[in-house]
Symmetry: C2
Subunit: 465 residues, 2 copies
């Protein structure tokens, strides 16, 4: 990503000139930016909630007919309108033909996951043979580590970031113990420098360079859930490979957020959930990637009938003919209800490339950053609240996605419910962090400006009491 704060500022100034709206923090400018946005119609492909249908919005504080301020797509993405139809089509098929649906119709259920592979491959930068749509994220962490984590006496460590998402942390702990090692000896959680919130790339690479001989697996998130940091997956992979480590990534917050190039970066394996930026619904179908170099690799794995080549899968003589690549890491037959949701999402991604969305995202998130710094920066002259906010997420655009993690100068436990009452959906991390994600698919400048207004309003109210 070649964007910078300067470029964002240039853009805002240009739009200010064009519109005649001088003050860059003016809400009217947000309206102008949204109207001028070439990708504004992508929002209409989604069910964007009204403020009035959020369970805790207060109609005396926010117009129920207005759009909610939904900046929580990093936690649960919104529903594509197409998804309802795709899911209904498959329910109708089930009602009409029962078991014949496995082999009939536009998307035979026995193959429904395969219909996702091209679209998903494009999102993660992989060939169809390198990806599978299956299971859930943490199950896939286990699928991959079961096969690729082969500790020896000298090389038995798994390196990850400190404060990883609990699921990843527990999964890795348990994989280490299941393989007869101890977390004490074999789990390394890399901490940021003293006083810093995010990891410096050079420190990650340096650690791998110095200790890589002992590391079996480097397993980082692609984007860190708490800080929003986007790791340099290419450089980490290269560093790991130089020391003979396998390198894998949990792409929960990266999938469909930022363009990925797993194949070209030479990543060994990866996995993701699809319910965040992938917009497939709560807990919906996960996915995994295994690099092409393992296409015919037959390493031990957790097998099931779906690991067997389709061509002979129904011969059922119990003699395994292992499928190639990522397909051979599948275990069970695909669940049509959740795969249908993935097909619905892919209809959206078929209409707009992740590269274009990423470009839009840089400006959206850059705008949010500008407003936060200008109106809430500790040293900003334009701050009107006692409350100040610093941004944990790295400043470099190539080190972040849609999300910014905002650190508040005081606890947010009073502020947060007031935001919710006023129609905001953001992710709280008590005591004093809120994650805000302007999602490139369906958020706009107005959402962001409204959030900032609400934040100011709430801060003023709380501070006056």
């Amino acid at each position: 990503c070649m964007c910078t704060q300067d470029k964002v500022l240039q853009f805002l100034n240009k739009m200010a000139d064009e519109s005649g709206i001088k003050d860059l923090t003016d809400p009217a400018l947000a309206e102008f930016l949204s109207d001028s946005d070439a990708l504004k119609e992508i929002r209409d492909l989604f069910h964007y909630p009204k403020a009035g249908t959020l369970p805790d919005a207060d109609p005396s504080l926010v117009d129920p007919e207005s759009d909610s301020i939904y900046l929580c797509g990093n936690s649960l993405g919104l529903m594509p309108k197409a998804t309802g139809e795709v899911m209904k089509d498959h329910l109708d098929k089930w009602a009409k033909m029962g078991v014949f649906g496995h082999m009939s119709g536009e998307v035979p259920w026995a193959h429904c996951d395969e219909y996702c592979l091209e679209g998903v491959g494009r999102l993660v930068g992989a060939k169809k043979e390198e990806v599978s749509v299956c299971n859930s994220l943490t199950v896939n962490i286990h699928v991959l580590l079961t096969s690729f984590y082969k500790p020896t006496e000298t090389r038995h460590k798994i390196l990850l970031e400190s404060k990883a998402f609990p699921s990843d942390h527990y999964a890795i702990e348990s994989q280490i113990r299941l393989k007869g090692r101890t977390v004490q000896d074999s789990m390394v959680c890399l901490e940021p420098r003293e006083g810093e919130e995010t990891l410096r790339t050079e420190d990650i690479l340096d650690y791998i360079e110095k200790n890589g001989d002992e590391i079996a697996i480097v397993f980082f998130s692609g984007i860190q859930y708490y800080t929003g940091q986007l790791f340099d997956m290419r450089a980490i992979t290269e560093a790991g490979h130089r020391k003979g480590c396998f390198v894998g990534f949990d792409l929960a917050h990266a999938f469909a957020n930022v363009p990925l190039h797993l194949h070209w970066w030479d990543v060994d394996f990866a996995c993701w959930c699809s319910y965040k930026y992938g917009c497939t619904g709560a807990g919906s179908i996960g996915g995994l990637f295994v690099h092409e170099r393992f296409l015919n690799d037959q390493r031990e794995r957790m097998l099931g009938w779906w690991s067997h080549k389709m061509s002979s899968r129904f011969v059922m003589d119990n003699v395994l003919d292992l499928d190639e690549g990522a397909a051979g890491y599948r275990i069970s037959n695909p669940p049509i209800h959740t795969v249908a949701a993935m097909l619905g999402s892919l209809k959206v991604f078929d209409q707009v490339s992740l590269e274009n969305l990423r470009s839009r995202s840089c400006y959206l998130t850059g705008y949010l950053e500008y407003l936060v710094k200008t109106l809430f920066g500790e040293n900003s002259e334009q701050r009107t609240t006692k409350l100040s906010i610093s941004i944990i997420t790295p400043e470099e655009f190539h080190q972040r996605g849609c999300q910014l993690s905002l650190k508040f100068s005081s606890p947010i436990d009073i502020i947060y419910p007031e935001l919710v009452k006023r129609g905001c959906a953001v992710d709280k991390r008590y005591p004093n962090v809120i994650r805000v994600a302007p999602v490139h698919l369906y958020n706009n400048y107005v959402d962001i400006r409204r959030f900032i207004s609400v934040l100011q309003e709430v801060a003023h109210i709380v501070e006056s009491e």
Copy 2:
């Protein structure tokens, strides 16, 4: 199950008297039986396909407006009408409130799997703490064997039936190899006696008695997919425990088919899929059972954030507080689309007990058996076809569920497509077996009699050519 062929015959004769229809093979008797059936309205709770909407039905051979002859619910159960509504409700919720759906509404998504536990517990004969709704069947086989298969030098074998479903077979093979053992030494597939198709219970118990000291896990299907044999799970569990083995079951074909009493039978663990008799849709959400004696057992397992107690799950300090019982074997957050389908199915099972359904099933399947023996039995005087059929599935009602596996005296490759053209849905196992499952929920005597008619018609046609 206390039913027998004699009881079925008595019942048929009684109904013949009542109706004045003398010939027990008369299609009119089937109509009378269906009309008199106390549970006939359960069919209306389902979308029962018309012949005309099956993809390969020939409208010149079967009236498109007539009901199909759907006897394939052992492979994919039909769709409950309630399911469409439950799924739509959750899509509407998603559209309306996005991320807030996790903690709001009638069924908050973060807890949606818990709403299934009472109903599922009732179906398998277990307490809520002993069951989880999660993952898929074969993934759950791995979840359970990862924790319970702890081979030692002396006790390292897994005992299962021969010709187990490929997924189970491969899963067990891979678990054995992943734990550093060989299939050659550690996998025992128990064969039926020479010339027999099903296992004798006494032979299973005998084998365990003689070899149990070497067996780590006894892992049978509850009902065998190919033969339809219902195993004596209570006796097998007792025999296994007497020799210090763990005993578990794959209930793919038993779940929601026959009443189960996993807790009372003292079974250690079990797992199932829900898309057969559970009617949740292709590939939909699986489940697992872990006996109450393991409630506070903290044995090593594949962990994720959903293994952590709910009360502190979102503290996220990466210190595991393992949940109790089956809940602690969950890994990932539940997928609402497929859990919604389970909730839809449970609305049906809330209306009629599995005991009542089982009772109905014995008569339905007994009627099918009577017709097959009478009209296709090799030694039957009433056989009008060259083709004869024998039944692989045990005769004893307590050794079977809804399904009968029919063995044809000649290859079925010509017959089978002709059945399909005439609106039949049955499961073929080339070269000469067809599995037919009159499902207690939605099949009736007329479906069965029509199937037999079509079978006769097709056999006559094929034999005259």
